[in-house]
Symmetry: C2
């Protein structure tokens, strides 16, 4: 089977521009639907391929039953655009995929295609965005822009979905908790994992377990050990190198294992903790001791391999107290099963009792991380029950967007040859908003965004302190006057093509992340709440409203009653 | 931002073995969780890193409420294993990710790691598989095998999930329908799309729209045009090149547009079709004519941009009939909205009326493709309502596995240094089955698989015609004697390491696809039905049962009642 992989010598050629190619080298101009090529051929055959078209990329509904979405994925789109060129092997493959009757001239045309004549305006990555408002406006020769449809939609869809999911998890967890993305193994394929790590960080997570994502994007990494590590040990007898130098380096404990055993006995016979546990699991104790010997400054133990309160927590505490004797401060425990609210509270009490009984300062504050199929609902339930968790490791539900695994981003033609176009549908929510447009966000007195407004490209822009009529695009009775405190134009030019406009620079991930956190913070709270959030208003100008409905009547067939 | 992409010169070095690297070049040894490296360090520090460990990779529950799963993703795993080596830049990155106290010798150890001492047994890709049975058994030095955990689980999880989803869609659609995977734009990232195309084909789909997947895997490609193509035209007046040569080449129709218009008029005034439609949309007509001029042998039109029965279908038929005059046979229509059952039936009647009225042979059988948010449920509902659809284009729900976007594949230590290991849990379904095992499928008289059986590695294998006791691994009362007609050992050696065993060759995708279809066909129907399927039995030998429970009692802490 000739699965040659996506990289190869010609890949390097493609990266000729000043902007790197997409993170995943499999993102090439072939990562598109076949119909983009059949259409390109039909356009070319009709002499129509260079007609200037304008497409809007947008979504119709916010995900997860919410009223907001985080826009993500733009950087990868621009990296694709900047390096968009067909290699000879790709053209040869397209040739075998189209009917043999297709004329050779078409392949010469494909050979010459790039995005130098394409112009892209977009909202900045990390912005909070809403349905119907174009996230990107792509204009250029119709055949080229059609080829871009599939990869651009693919690159925005999951990125925005998972960034939104991360933001929603952060919202429920609260700002004080550490949020760790642990989803790589359950993600939808390798770069489902890598993408999740990037966009969850963007949406407000603090770190990932995914080393490749750490290297690619500079995301902080977290991780300690698994159940397998615990069960790979049999007993402390197998630990041969038992010495540990104290933290400040002055002394060496020759038998750290014995020190731990001593502490375990003290705990067992302690009055405050009395009788909570008997014999702890010796395989687990050996694993914890070994891990502490390897990482005395970073000791964090997974405590649920055998039994949390009767084995894991006492074993952890014995090791942590032994480390404390040598000047080290244990980081904490991780719970990965069971009733996390109850176990975290019981563990906290155990830690606090130790602080009290043995006078170990701050031992009561030792960190508690929780994992195990967490999601928005379980975080919410934990909050309601009361818990003592300091950090959450979240995987499956976060990265696969289990509650809604797809966002419906679409890419619609809104103008060609300066002629506005509309796509009708019996479902009003699927009717497209025609015309090359500009989009504005109008802010109220309290600093909150009030409404997003679309206008025709050449309408005078709305101004602060002026009274502006904002209309629902399809419902004639929904309209409101707004006097904005501040007006922000949403789309900027990220790829100027030949327009001579200034190109917005791509920002580093941490800058986009900060922007995203700020954007989420400035939203009016009722739009953000989990239960029955208030929809944010999206509107069109009076002039655009009138034009949409004129065009609609013009294009819809008139029935014949019989 | 230093997002250098995953490929680079050192990638080429890595592909030194006789087996190509993974399809996605981002699948490297860094595509793992940080804790695999912290554990590797702790193993190394304890001198335990070379201890021989056996891990099982399996899942605990079939997805989508069903009772079967298709095993997929093995080839990519073997490609990773065969090329598993750390590059210097990766080691440098790991160094920055671990505490600075980690000793330099560890990085030398990492430099020397490969999978030459790892041995992998696995079920063949495309097999129907069941919970708890190891899909792969990975043995080797514990530190190396742990590093493999995350990428192997990632590569199997989504692959098996989406292949199963495809098989389920095929089951509902029936064998006679053409199934097209159209999911790239909605997939979870670029190789979510590429993976979906590969594994949906494996699970029984016929083709994909994804050109990159077509090139990588040789999957048949399908696609015609979109709504944007339709609305990019204004009227037939803009068609300048109107001539079309007849199919066999003998004559040229100088004005194909007029020929179409003539047919449209005939249809409008036809007695049989009378009054169904009035003026059709001229933008749409122009688009259909242009598409037919470009692809006269492959004319398939998307008919719902304006109105299916009042515009799209009549316009399509006019063009199809004009093509017919020139000896071409139109392929058909695509419906992408509305009531697909009703519209397909109405369209079929329209086609049949034309066949009757104008004597166009087989016109009534013109193809009808349906798309628009299809899934198992909607296919089932269409079947119940009655429909006339010949081909289904399925995207979002298929590729994102909307009904259940993650499969819970896990990777558990079952033996180390010849010592069987168990992971306990308060949830019995999460207790792991210890020991290095062999797995067998026992077939009954009618040729159906009856039960899968796990035994210890060194137990005598079950034999056909012998009476075998099969026990539920955790429920003592569930057991049955089986006299199999045939016994099949499930796991084969796909990576022998230094064992000297013969390596099973990786098969081409179409061979795996055929195997998968055959596997699905041979299952007893009650396991496969959508509603209340019968669970397939998974069992352990009497000897393994006893050992599991001995070990369980041995490891579980004994409580102290107070």
């Amino acid at each position: 089977m000739a699965a040659a992989g996506a990289n190869g010598p010609n890949k390097v050629e493609r990266r000729a521009g000043g902007i790197d190619g997409p993170t995943n080298p499999m993102v090439t101009p072939l990562l598109t639907d076949l119909y983009q090529f059949t259409m390109a051929y039909a356009y070319w055959k009709a002499g129509k391929h260079k007609e200037r078209a304008v497409f809007d990329l947008y979504f119709r509904r916010n995900p997860f039953g919410g009223e907001y979405t985080v826009f993500a994925g733009l950087e990868e789109c621009i990296k694709l655009i900047a390096n968009f060129r067909f290699m000879e092997d790709e053209i040869a493959f397209i040739k075998t995929s189209l009917p043999s009757s297709c004329e050779a001239g078409f392949y010469d045309y494909l050979r010459g295609i790039d995005c130098s004549d394409v112009e892209i305006h977009a909202i900045s990555e990390g912005y909070v965005v809403f349905p119907k408002i174009p996230l990107m406006r792509i204009e250029g020769p119709v055949a080229v822009v059609q080829l871009l449809e599939t990869p651009l939609v693919n690159l925005i869809n999951y990125a925005s979905l998972v960034a939104t999911n991360a933001a929603r998890h952060r919202f429920v967890a609260g700002k004080s908790k550490l949020l760790l993305e642990f989803g790589l193994r359950r993600a939808q394929g390798p770069d489902g994992g890598i993408g999740a790590s990037k966009y969850c960080y963007m949406g407000g997570f603090d770190a990932t377990s995914n080393v490749a994502a750490g290297k690619l994007f500079g995301i902080p990494l977290r991780g300690t050990h698994s159940h397998a590590f615990v069960s790979s040990f049999m007993s402390p007898d197998e630990i041969t190198e038992k010495s540990l130098r104290s933290c400040e380096g002055s002394k060496v404990c020759e038998d750290f294992v014995s020190l731990v055993q001593t502490w375990l006995n003290k705990l067992k016979w302690s009055q405050l903790l009395g009788g909570i546990f008997g014999e702890t699991n010796q395989s687990e104790l050996a694993a914890f001791v070994s891990y502490a010997l390897a990482f005395p400054k970073n000791f964090l133990a997974l405590v649920d391999t055998y039994d949390v309160m009767r084995s894991g927590v006492p074993n952890f505490c014995a090791v942590a107290l032994a480390l404390n004797d040598l000047g080290y401060k244990a980081v904490g425990i991780r719970l990965d099963s069971g009733d996390l609210a109850y176990l975290s509270c019981e563990t906290r009490k155990f830690f606090q009792a130790i602080e009290k009984e043995f006078g170990v300062r701050d031992f009561g504050k030792t960190g508690i991380t929780a994992s195990n199929d967490l999601n928005e609902e379980t975080l919410d339930a934990l909050n309601k029950q009361g818990h003592e968790v300091d950090a959450f490791g979240i995987g499956t539900h976060l990265v696969t967007c289990y509650a809604q695994p797809a966002l419906g981003v679409v890419f619609k033609l809104v103008e060609i040859n300066n002629q506005p176009r509309i796509k009708l549908s019996e479902d009003v929510s699927k009717v497209s908003i025609p015309c090359k447009k500009r989009c504005y966000r109008l802010y109220g007195k309290e600093g909150y965004p009030l409404v997003d407004l679309m206008t025709g490209e050449n309408e005078p822009p709305p101004k602060a302190a002026e009274r502006i009529l904002c209309r629902h695009p399809f419902n004639e009775s929904k309209r409101a006057y707004v006097v904005p405190q501040r007006v922000e134009e949403l789309m900027k030019c990220f790829w100027p093509g030949r327009s001579g406009k200034k190109r917005e620079e791509l920002q580093p991930l941490n800058v986009i992340r900060e922007r995203c956190i700020k954007q989420l913070d400035q939203m009016r709270p009722d739009h953000m709440r989990r239960l029955n959030p208030t929809p944010y208003k999206v509107s069109v100008s009076a002039k655009l409203y009138d034009f949409i409905h004129f065009l609609w009547l013009n294009e819809a067939p008139v029935g014949e009653l019989q």
